[in-house]
Every structure is written in structure tokens, then in C-alpha cells.
């Protein structure tokens, strides 16, 4: 028997439990991708009942279909595109009235739809219930109740969807339900005008177009304008006369009228059955958002998350590192023969993959923490608590979380800026996030600070370097928001959803999706970039010098007459010479030689410059690179390296190096993520060169002033 394929769209408010329903419906058959051009994830899945296969597309959660944000535009375009059989509108029954606003907007588009009343259990706790049959009668489409996470309920929902696939049900919210008022007259007028003057195929949606036109919808207005300029003038005239006659904004009138219809037609379906178990959310908020306790609890929670992520993540990272060390060794051992390909594979590919995967434990844990914060409803509260502070810098409270994550790693932090709805704000946050000292910079500080500062100042120095990063980030944000990324910085509008216990299934799914997204987009870029870095630091080879020095080392090794300690000393010196002659000959070495005079005014010499270039791969590579330049193979052994550094550089040079590490040139993983998240090479380059230039200027001023006095 042939299978019949259908497609449905899931549409609903944020926090309406749409994702839970998607997960329950699709089970394990889900995949995530991105919508073209924007970083809004696109989730697709499928289920089958008997011979019917149903494809599901989970559209982003939106409050309206006015297309004023990327999510709204995607959702609306998907509905308009009409390449589906049914729209499943998920309604949070515990927030019935508000959710129906979107239902009404969908219904206006005259598309086949059904309504799923989700979270009826939560509504029940409030002592209320929705009469599904009555609602169904009122709005003219099938309505069913559902508890999203419940398997039994999901099964019923599947059957319900399948049974409604071939029945084309159009909702009817009639505007003439509004009493005889000016608005419904004007809608009628505009509708008839559109119906009479537009081609036949628009006849069905003429009422929708009329409503949207009165709501000042740019998309509808411009499409009318392009099809019939005279009609456009007439429609604008209707909108204008509506405003004239009522003295109110026509957009406001339409939305108020929608609620009017909802109040009259749908609210009777909401019934009180028993006394409510009152306000769990309010109770929790009275503690978590308390005037005195709110902010300390927030800070404590953030600290807790950091401890959780890095205490748990670091050992895992260590395991990953040693795992890849082993793989490299094994590959080196069993790969037959020698040659460029082997070297490329081991030094480049395995090493590059290792670099990404070493990130992975921390990233997964951070995503886990973020998902829990989001699903529980605390994320919005954090934004609420911090908005007052962030407002000063032209940002909104929502940007605090990605910035804090930036102390761990810039990569998930930049991915976390997806939560910011204002594009200008999101770009600003993305640009300044590398200024928050990430976990990889910490070991560099640990190496350098004791080398240059007396013990009693070390703590202060560490504190100052973090503080410098934070202050710079906020100053830059302020500057960016008032220059390049301007625009509506005075509005802050978020919903504070009720607290809900995060569901492990949702969380693990979400973490899986996000991690996969990271590997797919940023991961491949990071791999590519680290391959390029590897090539630059390996080629061209200085074969002659290599052979000569290796021979010398062999000669010393076999020279049994020399005392043992002298021999070891000679060997290590020769090896160090070998490393540096190798490095000097490569592109990277040449670049660093070329760049050294440029960095002279900052107090850097050749060794520092080459280590800084190495640190492009990842900030902690600075240590390894410096160790290599000093011929100190054992990078773990900090103290001997530290003594050498302390002997070679003054504390002022040291401070300058620290500052430069903090500010300049984010690592390639960060740049790659910026590129994949903004989708623009321009922003990635701007971030890279902008921060490097900033670091250069600050270090230049600092070093010149400090040495002058």
C-alpha cells in the first residue's frame, strides 16, 4: 500500500509548550537546521499513523504575525507559502486569552487549521478549564486538549491531527461580530475595494489584506502598491479616515478589536471549576526578584553555573586532550612511511578536530545550563534584574547572560546572543563578548602575572585585568550603540513566563540540537582555520638547517666523552635552535619577523610576537608557543618558563603583554562563530581587526607612557 504524505506546521506563542509537543509528536525523527540567512533554527520531524506520514515543521514561537522580527517573518512567510496541509496552532491554555490573539491572526489568513489547547493540567491547577467543544463552535475549527509531555496525550493528538488532515477547516472570526462600529465598516470597505480591484486569486485573502493594511503592515501595503498604485492610495485613504474619525491609531484599533472579539466569543469557553491553588510563580518571584535578595541570588546562581560548568568541564577537557594526544601518537606510529600527507593528517587534521572537540565538554555543559535557565523561566528574570545596569550601555537586560557566558568561552556566548531580539543589540554584544576574559586566557594570566608582579600584588593584578576587560566591553558597547549599531534602544519588552520545571527530554534535545549546530557550522570553520594556521606554521620547511642541526644533536648524543649534564645542556640548546630555525623559516615565522618592528613600540620582541601569532589558534596556545620558542618542551612545567620570562622582560612589558592578550585578536574559534552567527564576513573581520587595533592602541599608549615616566 502506498504511503500518503502530509505536511503540518506548528505555530504558537513562545512558552506555549510548542517545542514539547513537537518533541512528543516527532519522537526521535527530528532534525534541526537554520532558516536561510538568519540564525533562527528550523526544526523538522515526522510521525506516521498507519499509512499516513506526517511531516512536521516547528515554526519559531511568535506573539504576532506582523513580521517585525526575523521569527515573525519566517512564521508568516511559511503560512503564506501554502505548501502544507494543516496548521496546528498550539495554545497555552493557562494563558488562553493572550494566545488566542495569534490564533485569530492565523484564522484571518483563511488557512486550514486546528487548535491544540496545551497545558490544560496547568490551567486546572488554577481552578479553570476550557470547554473545547464550545471554543470549537465559537471559532469554527476543531479543538483538542493536550498535555504536551504526556505520551498518551501525544498519541491522541497524533490521531486527532491525522483525522483532520483532509478536512479543510477554515476558522471564522467574523469582524461583523464587532458591533456596528467604524472599524468593521472600514474593513468591509477596504475588503470590497480590494476584492473588486485585485486579480481573482486574491479574492479569498482580501479581508486579511484589508485588516493588515489598516494595521499598517508594510508587506501587504507594498504588495498592494506594486500591483495597483491607485488602490494603494485608496486604502491609505480609508486608514486615514479611520484615524480621523476615531482619533486613534488604526493599528491600535485593529488589535484592540481583536481582543474585543476574543473577549466576547472565546472567553465564555473558559470556565472556573474550583478554587485556584494560587500563584506559585508569584511566590517564587517574591524571593527570586526580591528587592534585597534578587541580585545576590542572581550572582550566586551565575557563580554556581560557572562552578558547575568548569569544575565538571575541565577534567572532561583534560580527558579529551589526552585522548587526542593518544590518537596522534597512534597515528604517528602506525601510519606507514613518512611524508607531507602524514604530517598534514596528524599535525593538521587530527590536531584541528581535537581543538574543536576539546571545546566540546564545556560547550555542552554551558548549553545545558542555558537551556535549563530558559526552560525554567529564569532567563527572562535575569534580564529583568539586570536591565537597569545594561540600559546605561545601550543594551537590554537580556544581554547579560551571553556576556557572563563569555567569561567561560566566547563561542557559546556568541551563540547565546540569539536570545537578543534586537539585531543591533545582538551585533553589539557579539562584538564585545571577546573582551570578557575567557577560560582560555586564564592560564596565560596565571603564567604571566607571577612572573611580573610581587606576590602581594598578584591578586590585584588578576582582578584588574578582568575589570579592564569588563569596562572596555561596556565602553565599546556604548560607543557601538551610539554610532554603528543605533536604533530603538529605549524599548524593552519581554514576557516573564510562569516558572516551569524543566523537562529532561526537552533539555537534552535542545542541547543536542545546539551542540550539533555548533559542530556543523562553527566546527567546520574552526577546523578549516586551524588547518590554515597549521600550514602557515609548518611550511615552507627549512630542510637544510633541519638536517644540519639534527646531525649536530646526534653527534652530541653519541659524544660519550662529554660529561652528562653538559651534554644534556648542549642538546637542549641545539633543540631549541632547531625549533626556532624551523619556525623562522615558515610563513608564520616570516610574518612574525616582519611584524616585530610594528610591535616594538608596545614592548614586544620576536618571541612574544610569534607566541601571539600562535595564540590565534586558541589563547592558551600562547603558553605552548612561548615554551617552544624558549625550547621548553614541557609546557606543563610553568615555573621554569616563568623564570625565563621574568628574566627577559620588565613588569611594564609584562603588563603590556597581558593587556594585549586580553583585548586583541580573538581566537579563530571566536571569529568563526561570529562569522557563522552573523552570516557576514564583514562583521567577523571587523571584530578581528577592530579588537586588534584597539589592543594595539591601548598597549601603545600604556607602554609609551609607562616607559616615559
Amino acid at each position: 500500500m502506498n504511503k500518503v504524505r502530509y505536511k503540518i506546521l506548528l505555530v504558537g506563542n513562545p512558552n506555549s509548550g510548542k517545542t514539547t509537543i513537537f518533541n512528543s509528536l516527532a519522537g526521535l525523527h527530528a532534525k534541526v537546521a537554520n532558516y536561510p540567512g538568519v540564525t533562527v533554527s528550523k526544526k523538522e520531524g515526522m510521525f506516521s499513523v498507519g499509512n499516513t506520514e506526517v511531516e512536521i515543521e516547528d515554526l519559531p514561537g511568535v506573539y504576532t504575525l506582523s513580521a517585525s522580527s526575523a521569527e515573525e517573518k519566517i512564521t508568516r512567510d511559511a503560512i503564506l507559502e501554502n505548501s502544507y496541509d494543516l496548521i496546528v496552532n498550539v495554545v497555552d491554555s493557562s494563558n488562553f486569552e493572550r494566545n488566542l490573539y495569534l490564533t485569530m491572526q492565523i484564522a484571518e489568513m483563511r488557512v486550514p487549521m486546528i487548535v491544540v489547547l496545551n497545558m490544560t493540567d496547568e490551567l486546572r491547577k488554577r481552578g479553570k478549564t476550557v470547554d473545547a467543544a464550545m471554543l470549537s463552535n465559537a471559532i469554527g475549527v476543531p479543538v483538542t486538549k493536550c498535555v504536551g509531555y504526556d505520551a498518551e496525550s501525544a498519541k491522541k493528538l497524533r490521531n486527532f491531527i491525522v483525522s483532520n488532515l483532509d478536512v479543510c477547516t477554515l476558522a471564522h472570526f467574523h469582524w461583523d461580530w464587532l458591533e456596528n462600529n467604524i472599524l468593521s465598516k472600514k474593513i468591509e470597505l477596504a475588503r470590497d475595494l480590494l476584492k473588486a480591484n485585485l486579480p481573482e486569486e486574491f479574492a479569498d485573502c482580501s479581508e486579511w489584506m484589508a485588516i493588515r493594511a489598516l494595521e499598517n503592515d508594510e508587506y501587504v501595503l507594498s504588495s498592494i502598491k506594486s500591483k495597483a498604485p491607485l488602490l494603494y492610495d485608496a486604502i491609505c485613504g480609508i486608514a486615514q479616515s479611520l484615524e480621523t474619525e476615531t482619533g486613534d491609531n488604526s493599528e491600535t484599533l485593529v488589535s484592540a478589536a481583536r481582543y474585543g472579539i476574543i473577549d466576547r466569543i472565546c472567553l465564555p469557553a473558559l470556565k472556573t471549576v474550583e478554587n485556584p491553588q494560587y500563584g506559585r510563580t508569584r511566590l517564587i518571584d517574591s524571593i527570586l526578584l526580591n528587592k534585597l535578595l534578587g541580585i545576590p541570588i542572581f550572582l550566586l546562581l551565575m557563580f554556581g553555573i560557572f562552578e558547575f560548568v568548569f569544575e565538571l568541564g575541565d577534567p572532561l577537557m583534560g580527558i579529551m586532550e589526552s585522548l587526542f594526544g593518544h590518537i596522534e601518537n597512534l597515528a604517528a606510529k602506525y601510519w606507514p612511511g613518512e611524508g607531507a600527507i602524514k604530517e598534514f593528517f596528524i599535525g593538521g587534521v587530527i590536531n584541528g578536530v581535537g581543538t574543536i572537540l576539546v571545546f566540546l565538554p564545556n560547550i555542552i555543559l554551558l548549553f545545558l545550563a542555558l537551556s535549563i535557565l530558559e526552560d525554567s523561566g529564569y532567563m527572562a528574570r535575569a534580564a529583568f534584574l539586570c536591565d537597569r545596569i545594561m540600559k546605561r550601555f545601550g543594551l537590554s537586560g537580556s544581554s547579560i547572560i551571553p556576556m557572563l557566558v563569555g567569561f567561560g568561552c566566547s563561542v557559546p556566548a556568541i551563540m547565546g546572543t540569539r536570545a537578543l531580539k534586537n539585531p543591533a543589540e545582538r551585533l553589539t554584544a557579539t562584538m564585545v563578548i571577546p573582551l570578557f576574559s575567557c577560560g582560555a586566557r586564564f592560564p596565560v594570566y596565571v603564567l604571566l602575572i607571577p612572573a611580573f608582579f610581587p606576590p602581594n600584588l598578584r591578586g590585584t593584578a588578576m582582578f584588574c585585568i578582568y575589570l579592564a576587560g569588563i569596562s572596555l566591553a561596556f565602553i565599546c558597547a556604548r560607543i557601538l550603540r551610539s554610532t554603528t549599531f543605533r536604533g530603538n534602544d529605549s524599548t524593552f519588552l519581554i514576557e516573564l513566563p510562569p516558572y516551569r520545571l524543566p523537562r529532561m527530554k526537552n533539555i537534552s534535545r535542545e542541547v543536542g540540537f545546539r551542540t550539533f549546530g555548533f559542530l556543523q557550522k562553527a566546527g567546520t570553520l574552526i577546523l578549516g582555520m586551524s588547518l590554515i594556521l597549521w600550514l602557515l606554521s609548518t611550511y615552507p620547511k627549512n630542510t637544510a638547517a633541519e638536517v644540519e642541526l639534527t646531525q649536530k644533536i646526534e653527534a652530541v648524543k653519541s659524544d660519550t666523552k662529554m660529561p652528562l649534564d653538559m651534554r644534556e645542556h648542549a642538546i637542549s640548546e641545539l633543540e631549541s635552535a632547531l625549533v626556532s630555525s624551523k619556525f623562522d623559516h615558515t610563513f608564520m615565522g616570516r610574518i612574525s619577523q616582519f611584524a616585530t618592528p610594528i610591535f616594538k613600540p608596545l614592548g614586544f620582541d620576536n618571541k612574544i610576537v610569534s607566541s601571539l601569532i600562535g595564540a590565534l589558534a586558541a589563547k592558551e596556545v600562547f603558553i605552548a608557543q612561548l615554551g617552544m620558542v624558549y625550547g621548553n618542551d614541557n609546557a606543563e612545567d610553568d615555573s621554569s618558563l616563568r623564570d625565563k620570562i621574568a628574566a627577559d622582560y620588565t613588569p611594564i612589558q609584562g603588563a603590556s603583554i597581558l593587556l594585549f592578550i586580553l583585548i586583541s585578536a580573538p581566537c579563530i574559534a571566536t571569529i568563526s562563530t561570529t562569522y557563522s552567527e552573523t552570516g557576514s564576513i564583514k562583521f567577523a573581520l571587523a571584530q578581528f581587526f577592530g579588537l586588534t587595533a584597539l589592543g594595539y592602541c591601548i598597549c601603545f599608549i600604556f607602554y609609551q607612557c609607562a616607559t616615559f615616566f
Binding site: 482619533g247 526578584l289 536591565d387 540600559k391 530603538n488 514576557e495 516573564l496
Partner: protein, 224 residues
């Protein structure tokens, strides 16, 4: 509107107005009634009705009541609204006597362009308290932005409830607020102020949303 208003003389606008008010009062408008109401001779009524029918504003056949078309109705309404607006401006703001105001309004209504009318509406909303002065604070369903009991949402204290009367255009897209439940006519409640004093949580239509005080400044409400 697709019709060209300039075509219509003051006189014809008056006819439309009369037909409209006659049909809403007594259900139909016969030419004789029209002639009586406007104190003109019947032949001039017939001429005017022919002219109006030609332009598609009325449906008129001999010996039958006259009915307005949709376009005609909308012009009549517009004129009538202008009339009311002007006469209330004269009586309420300027203190002119009602009969005198009516005559003046009758003449001026034709000259009042839509743009001026809108400005006048706004002006009246702002200044006049006349229409709302007797408004009892509680249980009053009036949602006029000029209600004397209207205050800014930001002036409310925690726990106080209010009904939204007006939302400024400076807030940005009204649709975005509407999607979260906030429109004219919504009942709002101040639930909580952030520890640092700024954003405020307000409850509206069963959900809680957070906004800055400067946004609340732009929303006019009336306490309930």
C-alpha cells in the same frame, strides 16, 4: 477614498447629510421629506438627487424612497461627524451658544479638510474635559484618552490596577505590544518593580510582561 471630493458641492454634501439623518430617524427618505427638512422646493431636490445618483452616491428612482450607497453613506457620516466636532468645539471650548454653534458648524463643516479635522480631534482629546467630567471613577467604561482620571501607567503603585486608554506612537510598533496582550482597553496591574528601580513587571491578560518606566510614561491609563 476613490471618489473625488472636490466634485461635490457644499449643497450636495448637505443633501447627503439630510438623507442619512432622515433614513436613520424614520427608516426612509422620500424626496418630499427631504424638501421639507431642508426647506427647499421639490424640483431642486429632484435635480440634486439626480446629480447625486449620477455620481453613485444615492440610488434614486421616481416615486421611491432614496437610499444612500456605501460611498454616499461614508461621505454623509464624515460630514456629520465634522458637524458634531465643530459644534462641540464651539460650545465646549469656546462657550458659544448651542443654536449659534449649530449654524456655524453647518457652514464650516464643508470647508473642514480631513487633516484639520484630525488635528481638531486630537486637540479636543487633550484639552476638553467636558465630555468626561461627570465620569465616576469606578465602573466607568469610558476609554477616552481625555478622561480626567487618566494618568500615566508609570505613576501607578504596586498592586494597583488600571485600564489602558491610550498608547503613544513613540512606543514603537503597537502590534508587538498587542501580541503580548497590551492594547487600548486592556486591564493592567503593576506587579513588581525591579530591585534597581527600573524595569517594571505588569500583569496583562493573564501574562506578565516587563517594560521600562520610560515606556510606561507613554501609556495613559485610568485606575480602576
Amino acid at each position: 477614498m476613490k471618489t473625488d471630493r472636490k466634485e461635490l458641492s457644499e449643497n450636495l454634501e448637505d443633501y447627503l447629510e439630510t438623507i442619512s439623518s432622515l433614513s436613520s430617524e424614520s427608516g426612509s427618505a422620500r424626496p418630499t421629506d427631504i424638501a421639507k427638512a431642508m426647506s427647499v422646493k421639490k424640483p431642486s431636490v429632484t435635480a440634486a438627487l439626480n446629480a447625486l445618483a449620477e455620481r453613485g452616491y444615492v440610488e434614486y428612482e421616481k416615486y421611491k424612497p432614496v437610499t444612500l450607497t456605501k460611498d454616499g453613506e461614508s461621505i454623509a457620516k464624515n460630514v456629520r461627524r465634522k458637524h458634531q466636532l465643530l459644534s462641540s468645539f464651539f460650545t465646549d471650548v469656546l462657550g458659544v451658544e448651542a443654536s449659534e454653534a449649530d449654524i456655524a458648524a453647518c457652514k464650516m463643516e464643508h470647508a473642514l479638510k480631513d487633516g484639520i479635522m484630525m488635528k481638531l480631534v486630537k486637540f479636543l482629546k487633550k484639552t476638553s474635559t467636558a465630555s468626561c467630567s461627570g465620569c465616576p471613577n469606578k465602573n466607568c467604561t469610558c476609554t477616552a484618552a481625555n478622561c480626567p482620571h487618566a494618568v500615566e501607567l508609570s505613576s501607578l503603585k504596586r498592586g494597583e490596577k488600571a485600564i489602558v486608554l491610550d498608547m503613544s506612537n513613540k512606543l514603537g510598533r503597537q502590534g508587538t505590544y498587542a501580541g503580548m496582550g497590551l492594547t487600548i482597553g486592556s486591564v493592567v496591574e503593576i506587579i513588581r518593580v525591579a530591585p534597581l528601580g527600573d524595569p517594571v513587571i505588569i500583569g496583562v491578560r493573564g501574562s506578565e510582561i516587563s517594560m521600562r518606566k520610560e515606556q510606561l510614561d507613554l501609556i495613559k491609563v485610568k485606575k480602576i
